[in-house]
Assembly symmetry: C2
Homo-oligomer: 559 residues x 2
């Protein structure tokens, strides 16, 4: 490559060469590729989550807002990336990174993703994607089959039909949820007589036509934040996403749901969509989908299931019963970049009825002509890459039985960890795992004892200090860079609905061992005691409560 | 890899191994990777656009909706992908593929994209992306600088500020446009007294509060179809996206824009956004942005510029003046996967005012906490990959001057081709290139002569047949797989606004040569004559018109 000669200098000739296929594997680019692979392998084998550099320090390397005037050598820039970016990135695939839904990826995806990048197909239309279009339609068919289990004749009819679609592949769960609710909104406010429908005439005129006082979307209080975003984008308004209270297992309360529906009807507010959560982001619990489907059916609501995270569990016949009722949903969101182990950027919404997407169909003159099989005529996004290919490859190479093993062992590991936490005198489980997600916190033994006998005011104070301690431990552990759990806020019934900070753990990574889990707890215990501000104060309060109580207890027992 | 032994069989041990780093470069996976690279290089060196298999034939390979029960060998599945997918995909990077905005990619992106895939960062939050967050903010800063050219102090203040954002990286131009209009809508219908704003209360209550009869978005009739989609999603309604007529150069007519604004005001309809197009998708023309900015300013409209395709031209000081006025836009869409030569999935919306994104800010308990620098608090998408890295690398390695050369030569090539078309007696230019996009059609010489003297009815018939011929040529050329141009429908003034099918050519690929351009025309001419249905009929009609006219002409000249 001329661009690699003595001095990087832009010339048309050198620029042309960067677009041509490198001839030999021992070319400059070949050597650089090897160096990158070696560096990446070293990085990925290190089980360190992130080095201790602070964000402010890292920002110094990324502070110049000028596009560089002169070109750089590929080798020089690669060195910069390896040194300043790779080394300062988060090791999301580390078996010690158990705080979020990213996991290690199967290594076969690295060479295969080369196909995706190099071919650079645009799946918006067949002219720029050809075989990638039927492939994506097949992947959507497989997912549809996984959820709805229709017969072969069904898929023969609809999978490759130009006028229909079994779903939409998209960049992630948020776009999938927006798409589902967009379809639901447009179907609820469809054309009617002289009114051309909300898609054509907009929400204001639609509401006047239908005479509703307002619209509403119903979901449990554990619904994902993307649903609020959807309600905002779609013009429904965040307030109209109504949060239904949950039971002690973080599942929507059917009685409260019924009450809300009745109240809305009385107020002439139209609840056009009901959302079931199959794997809440914060606690991993699954709503009673069957009971919800009954209500949605009765009330004529679109029933959407947000299974962005939990949907992959359908690949396991062991876990499948936990999602009972999902096959009655009008639409389902599933992210393949979560428990299906493909790289970021693989969301999907699947529609039960292949003609439902007509509510959002779009056409244009130069592409997406009517009758074409262009995927872009029913997606929120326009130009898109060939990401479905990586899911296709994973489904084939791992197979359903392989996925079943992976998913079952992640649930078993979560149950193991839940038991391990419960066995510790100074930890407390907050939500037990239904799939592979659980929450807990650190509570010194004496604080547990004190809390049990404390007055309501004392409980508040203890609780506040425990919250501060949880935040301290989580932050310090993250900064230390050895282990990572995330943190969220819940309102557990057994803590009288008090706002409670908790550690959140997702055990999706197949490489996470029991030793690592023990190590996570040991480190947290150790960090807790390092908190020179919170810990001593908390212990002092606990002891004073216990001491004040001691004489009485003694008196009672000696009587 | 155990999964590669005699029979693929899912066992926990074999599954664990697919998640661990392969030890040696001569491992099974190493060998597969080499095979893929060789196959891809062969494919990319072949300048064939697509093989002749029909879509229906290809669909047969992608028709099973069952997730395979058993795992497959990586090697077997790779073979399937190379044979059935790669070989049947579209060679978008071929220098003969000049019909859409995809081009060849610089080869250094192949090894670098490995970093992106292997690290699998989630840029929604710092906890899962660390250095990728400042990198993405810097890229947005560079693009902001490219458009708005603020001083260093500006970027020092805002580029890395937690409460601000210079833009949003997203999967493509459609999401970018939706984001811009979402911001515009929420700002236009913001909180006011007891009214909490459209984001909270929804569009129906917002409209009642503000007392508007309706909303409107204004854009020229050449606006991209994603804008209609945006109007639908955002609850504005497609009808409220008002198409303003264009002049003979496909640019918005300012007089018509003024008329429309006045009319809307009279009807109490609020035009809250005006969209300038900087590079229309169909003809590549640029709206008079300065004049539009004046009107937007005067009327208090959000001024958005859709420069998804044309925005890259700002990297060239030669082309920059053509986009004069873009620096007055409130927001700008630019796709890096178009003329910035990075792979699919790199859209951006840039905001002039760093606090504008507060109109769409979202928070959640477990991530995106207030005060954090998490990118996800102001993006439409949630979880996202580290695509900004590839744009960062390209900007550094190619440099502004390198981009300038690439962009300038693509414009020069389009001008060359435009001249070449004009020189042919049997072709007709429909829209000349302003950047590197032009449209034209095939018109036999005798048809040109006949058209000039035909009656209005005869013109209609000739026109209809020419349209049919254009469609025939474009389809047949695509099917032949040697060259590819796209096709769209325009209403040129010089053809009395008749609906006209045209060939559409985008000359972004640096490897497209003058010989190829000549070959494209030669092939089209040749295909035209093969049309046994349209061509003879068209020629017969033209000849009859010319013959009928001949005696008169003769009589006149001999008089």
């Amino acid at each position: 490559m001329v661009i690699e000669t003595k001095k990087a200098k832009a010339s048309l000739e050198s620029l042309h060469r960067i677009f041509t296929v490198p001839e030999a594997p021992n070319s400059t680019l070949g050597t650089i590729e090897q160096a990158i692979s070696q560096n990446l392998n070293r990085f990925l084998q290190d089980h360190i989550i992130a080095t201790e550099y602070s964000l402010t320090e890292i920002e110094k390397d990324f502070c110049n807002a000028n596009v560089p005037e002169q070109p750089s050598f590929v080798s020089d820039h690669t060195e910069f990336l390896l040194d300043k970016l790779v080394a300062q990135s988060v090791h999301t695939s580390s078996p010690r990174f158990i705080g979020h839904m990213t996991s290690a990826l199967p290594y076969f995806l690295m060479p295969l993703s080369k196909i995706m990048i190099a071919l650079n197909q645009n799946t918006v239309k067949i002219e720029t994607s050809k075989a990638f279009t039927p492939l994506e339609r097949q992947v959507l068919g497989m997912l549809h089959n996984l959820i709805y289990q229709q017969d072969d004749a069904f898929y023969d009819s609809w999978m490759h039909s130009a006028e229909h679609s079994l779903g939409a592949f998209c960049s992630g769960g948020t776009i999938a949820n927006i798409t589902a609710l967009w379809v639901a909104r447009n179907a609820a406010l469809k054309s009617d007589g002289a009114f051309k429908g909300v898609a054509e005439e907009g929400l204001f005129r639609a509401m006047k036509h239908y005479g509703y006082e307002d619209l509403a979307i119903l979901v449990s209080e554990r619904g994902h934040y993307s649903l609020k975003k959807s309600a905002d984008v779609l013009g429904i308004g965040r307030e109209s996403l109504i949060a239904i209270p949950t039971d002690e297992n973080n599942r929507i309360r059917i009685d409260k749901l019924e009450e809300t529906v009745a109240l809305l009807k009385k107020k002439n507010i139209k609840p056009f969509a009901l959302i079931g959560v199959a794997g809440t982001t914060e606690t991993g619990n699954i709503d009673p989908l069957d009971a919800m489907a009954d209500i949605a059916e009765r009330e004529g609501m679109h029933f959407h299931v947000d299974a962005a995270w939990g949907g992959a569990s359908l690949l396991s016949n062991t876990q499948r019963p936990k999602l009972k009722g999902i096959e009655r949903a009008d639409s389902v969101t599933i992210d393949a970049h979560k428990q299906m182990y493909v790289p970021m950027g693989a969301g999907m919404v699947i529609f039960k009825d292949p003609s439902l997407v007509s509510a959002i169909e779009h056409h244009a003159d130069y592409i997406l002509r009517k009758g074409s099989k262009d995927l872009g005529s029913h997606t929120l996004e326009g130009s898109r890459g060939g990401m479905a290919m990586l899911l296709f490859a994973s489904l084939n190479i791992i197979g359903r039985q392989g996925y079943e093993l992976l998913i079952d062992q992640s649930v078993e590991k979560a149950e193991y960890f839940s038991n391990l936490v419960s066995q510790q005198s100074d930890f407390e489980i907050i939500s037990k795992p239904e799939l592979c997600l659980l929450t807990y916190r650190y509570v010194p033994e004496s604080v547990k004892q004190a809390y049990a006998i404390a007055t309501s005011n004392q409980k508040d104070t203890l609780h506040e200090q425990l919250n501060a301690l949880t935040v301290f431990i989580q932050k310090r552990q993250r900064e230390a860079g050895q282990n990572f759990v995330s943190r969220t806020t819940l309102t557990p019934t057994h803590l009288d609905g008090r706002s409670t900070h908790v550690f959140r753990v997702v055990l999706a990574n197949p490489l996470t061992t029991k030793d690592i889990l023990q190590d996570v707890l040991d480190e947290q215990r150790c960090i807790a005691k390092q908190s020179t501000l919170v810990y001593p104060e908390l212990m002092a309060l606990a002891n004073s409560i216990l001491l004040a109580d001691a004489p009485i207890t003694q008196a009672l027992t000696t009587e």
